[in-house]
Symmetry: C2
């Protein structure tokens, strides 16, 4: 992933071949394909882990937590998981912003996350409507905070940006 | 569109050919392609009009309207536009629910709507963060109300369902 992101950053995503990535990482192409189905997967490889960590946190939220509090429980482990990925995330965000097909893929991954949170909230006894609304809102908070986090220099600022984004969502929706 | 949706409903979306749609509508295939680039476009043809009507309403909202009120101004014309499309929308919703590729297309259209609302809010002087949060929230309200509307029998219920969905969003995000 590190070799790939460096090449994407230096010479462009479209221009980088799997052979180049494998060579830079000291791997054969065959070994590359043991880890990633294609070049795009290098950029989206972390999203399954993100969803798993987020859902585990929703499941572990206190039984009396509100739907929104439970939905947002995933923000803690995710902020922590991302601290060491700041440099990667910044380059990745630039690549995705420049490529409509990757933007679509990113939106779909975010919607997969929202769908998974919704299901987990319903497992907790939340009604379907409230589950969708809380899940979508939590993902929007994450998405807005993420966009701000990759634009600034402090890798540890993510949790704070999430709190600000959540506060702002609450004030925007009730105004 | 009417001929196509009837065929999709009777024999399945995948199984329906453009030749069959054209024949049922009394058109040649060539004429079909003057209106739609492909079969999928029959299902997504209304989304540009939806976005245009929604954005015009945001632009026309009172200058003192809050970002959320302005973002939600599009709900009125859209609810009205959909009244006469209830039968179409119900069949369409079933087809999309059964086809992951169409679900992705639907999510991307909803995100295009959110992006357009965001831009229009920023044109009104709303900050980027507040614009994203209000736009995403308004689209979520629409999406939830739409899913409920196609599940029930009254074509005129959409506006009421939107209000309920907006109230529920406000109570969910602040709980």
């Amino acid at each position: 992933m590190s070799a790939a992101i460096t090449l994407f950053d230096e010479q462009g995503y479209e221009e980088t071949t799997i052979a180049q990535i494998a060579a830079a990482a000291g791997l054969t192409k065959r070994t590359f394909f043991r880890y990633f189905a294609d070049k795009r997967e290098v950029l989206f490889n972390g999203s399954d882990e993100l969803i798993e960590d987020w859902i585990a946190a929703v499941a572990a939220a206190a039984p009396e937590a509100s739907p929104m509090t439970a939905a947002c429980a995933g923000l803690d482990p995710v902020a922590e998981m991302f601290v060491e990925r700041h440099a990667f995330a910044r380059i990745r965000a630039r690549i995705i912003a420049a490529n409509p097909e990757l933007q679509e893929r990113e939106l779909i991954k975010l919607q997969s996350l929202a769908a998974a949170i919704k299901v987990e909230l319903m497992n907790r006894g939340v009604s379907e409507n409230a589950a969708i609304l809380a899940a979508q809102s939590a993902v929007t908070v994450f998405h807005v905070a993420f966009a701000r986090w990759v634009q600034q220099d402090d890798p540890t600022a993510f949790r704070q940006l999430m709190d600000e984004s959540l506060d702002e969502l609450r004030s925007v929706t009730t105004a």
